[in-house]
Amino acid sequence: MNTTAIRKLPQEASILMVLVGIAALFEILGWIFIGQSFLANSKRLVIIVLQVSIIGIIAVGVTQVIITSGIDLSGGSVAALSAMVAASFAQASGGFSIFYPGIVDLPVIVPLLVGIGVGLLAGSINGAITAYTGVPPFIPTLGMLVAARGLAVLYAEGQPIFGLTEQYTAIGQGINPVLIFLGVALLFHVLLKHTVYGRRTYAIGSNEEAARIVGIKVNRHKVLVYAIAGGLAGLAGIVMSARATMGQPGMGFMYELDAISAAVIGGTSLFGGKGKISGTVIGVFILGVITSGFTFLRIDFYYQEIAKGMIIVAAVIADQRRQARKA
């Protein structure tokens, strides 16, 4: 029992250590170069948390897909499409309702369900193509990445959708995005750890052939996992549009990459079978702190991207080392 406890600690703890280390680094650099504290600034901390929430919701879904040894590249585009469709059902009367002029002031549950529904549908398509054609998941989700973005533009002919109901925009105000992110993270943490759904998700990623032999309906399960990832991207789109008080087809650009990065930095193995939502949450915060820290140090945005890129590559190399050591 003792040995496992010790062996288990590093994986989770080391990611947390990275987060603390990066924050500490910015703190020190802050005092040296700017003469102020990075962490002792509640406004900045709030912004970090708010910024990561939307990517975090997508990342929770992507983590589950990666655990099945799949990938979902469509998160950001699906979020944008859902944001557009949901926003079109969330328009208030007397606004600039350019869309569905007949139906305004719908109860907030309608755009919520429609937005998540669009995501679920997109995810199901990803999952069905992956599961039933045997094409590597990279392909259908790449197709969805492009197609969903195209649809998002087409939906309102490239125009943003303004004038949303107060009920709807409230979803994205204040601390709400953070609560939604943490709620979603907690829910799927429990589902992955304690339910048949989670057990089979790990089993498929660990040994798909074995999962089939013991009678798990692998294809159906994959569709479910991709659908959940799509649904969460849809939810992210709703939060995003509510926070911006409009739906815009360019929203969530490249969010899928940040979401995948967060999962990988958080210890989810691209080889499948391994990964935890708690790790992904820490991974999301690492990305958030980096973004915020670079802005704080007034370093050019492009260096940020370069740094993120290097961290992702480093995380994957570390994962590969871990796998090799095991074999």
């Binding site: 496992t4 790990y202 089993a203 660990s206």
Partner: protein, 260 residues
């Protein structure tokens, strides 16, 4: 042969084609209650193909199969398992990232109450049952909560076998259970098989190791090029006869030689 015993499994003219290749050509097979039989044959003789048909991993191209007195056609491994057939596969069919109870109960997890895929796992019950199952195999695994991937080949094999032994009500099939094991671990697995014999659970053993086959089973089915070319009682034959059946030529191999 004691023909009074009930037939557990019978196949009639079982065929399997992969594209143009006939991997199995009309296998007529019969297994009786409490009987342990071996399937031997060269690589590509159709042994594993035969096993994949009777365990539902694949569906035969033609032919009939009777299990427990009824005609059956398994659409999936789960069908076969539900009927009472458990198989230990060559590739073990274990998920390396999961622990021992999770692997033993993979695909039929114990849950508190049924909510479909979102049913909550009853880990306590699975752990207790896993312990019980492993005790029967007399194999020591220090920590059942460890991921299977961190364990030795012998421990993994014993988990796979105890998974079958725990659930098999009517028939266990083992495909090369000791191929990757050391001497000591092989002995352990053979002891498990002897125990199953005592319990009266029928078993089909696929093995390249003729010494093992002669030690453990009642009857031997010899496969060659997709066909069953011989069925012999283990105590009425010798290594020579089996080897010549396997290879299709008369050879002068020593009686105790193990065919690899």
């Amino acid at each position: 042969m004691n023909d009074a015993r009930k037939i557990v499994l019978r196949t009639q003219g079982l065929c399997k084609n992969y594209g143009g290749v006939q991997a199995l050509k009309g296998a007529d097979f019969e297994l009786r209650e409490g009987e342990h039989i071996a399937i031997v044959g060269d690589n590509g003789a159709g042994k594993s193909t035969f096993v994949r048909q009777i365990t539902g991993v694949e569906q035969p191209s033609s032919g009939q199969m009777f299990f427990d007195g009824k005609e059956v056609s398994f659409k999936s491994p789960l069908d076969a398992r539900e009927a009472g057939i458990e198989a230990v596969f060559q590739n073990l069919a274990l998920a390396n990232d999961l622990d021992v109870p999770a692997n033993i109960f993979l695909g039929r997890e114990e849950v508190y109450f049924n909510l479909g895929p979102f049913s909550f796992l009853n880990e306590k019950k699975m752990l207790a049952k896993a312990k019980e199952g492993l005790e029967k195999t007399a194999v020591k695994i220090p920590n059942l909560r460890n991921a299977i991937g961190n364990m030795s080949g012998g421990q993994r094999q014993c988990v796979a076998i105890s998974r079958s032994a725990a659930f098999a009500s009517k028939l266990i099939i083992m495909d090369e259970p000791t191929a990757a094991l050391g001497v000591q671990e092989t002995t352990q697995v053979e002891n498990i098989i002897r125990r199953l014999k005592k319990q009266g659970i029928p078993l089909i053993l696929i093995s390249h190791n003729l010494r093992q086959v002669f030690n453990l089973v009642d009857r031997i089915f010899v496969f060659r090029r997709g066909e069953i070319v011989g069925v012999v009682d283990a105590d009425k034959t010798d290594g020579n006869e089996i080897v010549s059946l396997i290879t299709g030529v008369k050879t002068g191999v020593h009686e105790n030689a193990s065919y690899i």
